[in-house]
Symmetry: C2
Subunit: 312 residues, 2 copies
Amino acid sequence: MRATRLGKREEGGSSYAYLRRLDEQMKELAEDNFTNEVLATFEDAESARFKEIMQSLIRHLHTFVREVQLTEEEWFEAIRFLTRTGQISDDNRQEFILLSDTLGVSMQMIGVNHSKPSGATESTVVGPFYVEGAPECKNGDDLANGAPGEPCFVEGQVRSVSGGPIANAHLEVWQADDEGFYDVQREGLSEVQDRGQLTADENGRFWFWTVKPASYPIPHDGPVGGMLKAAKRTPWRPAHIHFKVWASGYETVITHVFEKGDKYLDSDAVFGVKDSLIADFVRHQPQTAPDGTEMDKPFYTLTYDFVLAPRA
Amino acid sequence: MRATRLGKREEGGSSYAYLRRLDEQMKELAEDNFTNEVLATFEDAESARFKEIMQSLIRHLHTFVREVQLTEEEWFEAIRFLTRTGQISDDNRQEFILLSDTLGVSMQMIGVNHSKPSGATESTVVGPFYVEGAPECKNGDDLANGAPGEPCFVEGQVRSVSGGPIANAHLEVWQADDEGFYDVQREGLSEVQDRGQLTADENGRFWFWTVKPASYPIPHDGPVGGMLKAAKRTPWRPAHIHFKVWASGYETVITHVFEKGDKYLDSDAVFGVKDSLIADFVRHQPQTAPDGTEMDKPFYTLTYDFVLAPRA
C-alpha cells in the first residue's frame, strides 16, 4: 500500500513540497522495513505462541516510538523508570503489577480472559499484595489476627451459575486493615494478618470474622507514584476485600467485594470496580452477631455470594 | 465505525452465529470503552507531551493484550521478566537498554530522531556499556591502558557536511577488548580501559592507540539472554568501536565503527549495523606506525572520518 503512495504527486504541489513528502515517505518505508527485519528474527522461535506474542509486541512498540517520535532523552527516562520499577520490587512489593494495574493493562487482560456467562461473579485485578500460602482457617475464624479496625462478619454462599450450591468450595481472602495497610506493608510484623484460606460447608456456605477494610492509596512513593502524580491522578482505591474462589470443575474467580458508598468507587487507581462487585457493609450497634457471638461493641456485617461458571 | 458494524447481519448466517457475533462485538465495544476510560485519566496530565506519550503507550499496550489474547499466566511471566530485568541491572549492567536494543526499539527511536542530511555520519545504538566521565586523553594517547589485544592505531578527521574541518571537535571512545569484554564487565578491575575523551586538533584531526576490538556476545546470562534463546537468536555483535562526536553548533552523533568482514555484520543482536559505518581494520607486520612509533609486533590501523550536520 505504501508502495503505491510513494511517488504520488498531488496536483498543485510545489516541487519542493513534493520532494519533502517523498523524503518523508521514503523514511516511513525504511522504518517499516526495519521493523520487518526485527520481526524476522523471531520467525524460528521455539514456540509459535512466543513468536506471536513477541511479534505483536514489537510491532506495537515500534509504532508507538514512531507515533510519538520518542526522543533519546524520553527513551532514557523510560529506561530509568523501568529499572527503578524492577529494583523497588521485592518479596513484599510488586511495582510492575502496580504499573500494569494503573495503566489498565491488568483489567484489559482480565477482560479478554474472563468472558463470563450471565450471572457468574465477575473478575477483577489480583493486585500486588497477594501472597501464596495464606493460613488454613475454618468457618467462623477471625482472619484479622489482631489487625486494627472494627470487627466485620462476612458470610455468603458459593453457587454454580445453574443455581445449586458448590459443596466444599475453596476461598482465599486478603485485605487491607482499617488503616489501609496489608500485613506485608507493615515492617517487623511477624504474623499474618487479614489473610486466610477457607473451605465452604456442604451447602457452599462460608462465614468468617475480619475487620472492616478502609480505602487506601496504593504505594505511591515509587516510580508508579511519580507517574500518577505527573498525570494528576489519585492513588486511592475504594475499600474492598480480595477473594479467590475455586472448586473442582469450575472456573476460578479472582475478585474483590467493594464497599457501597465509598467515595473512590468512580476513581479507583487500578480500574478494578465493577457494579456487580459493590456490596453493603452494614454497621450494627452492640448486639448478637449472626453466628451467635455477643458483641459488646459496634460491628459490620457483609453478605456476598459467589457464583462460579463451569470450566470450559 | 464499530457502531455501524454492530447489529449488521450477514446474509445466510444462522441466528446463533449472528448472536455470537453480536456478543463478540459487544465485548470489543466494552474493551474499547475500557481503554477510553483509562486514557481519560491522563487528560489532565501536567504536561501535554507526557499525556501524548502515555495515551499512545496505553492504546498500544491494550491493543497488544487484545490482539494476542494474553493469558494470566503469560501476563505474570511478563511481570516476572520485567522485574528480573530491573533487578539484574546495576552500575555496570543495564539490562533494560539491552532489552530495548534487542527488540529493535533503540534503533527505531534513533531512526525517528536522526534524519541526517546526505553525507553526515549515521547514528547507531548507544548500547549498555557507555559510562559517563571517561578519562580526558590527548591525541596520540593509548586508550587501551593494558586491555588485552593487538595494538590498533585509529585516526581520522571531524568535518562538517559542507566539507570543512571542525577544529577542536570532541570525541568520546569506548569499546570491548580482544576478548570481547568492556572494562565494566571485568570484576575487580580498578582502572578504566579502552575508554577516553579526546579533542581534535585545529584541523579536526584525531588519532589514538587502542587494541583491536573483538566481536562478542551481549551478556546473555540474564532475562534478555533467555528471550534470545527462546527466539533461537544469536547474542553476537560484530566487532566495533563506539564513538560519540560533538562540537558547538553541530548535532552530536553517537555511533560505532564496525570491522569490515566480520561474520556477524548481518546478524547483529541489536540491529546496529549500517553500511556506512563499516570500515577496514588493516593489519600490518612490524614497521613504523603512522604516528612514527616503531612497532616491533603486528598492529592494525583504522581510518574513519566523522561528518557532523549543523544543529537544526
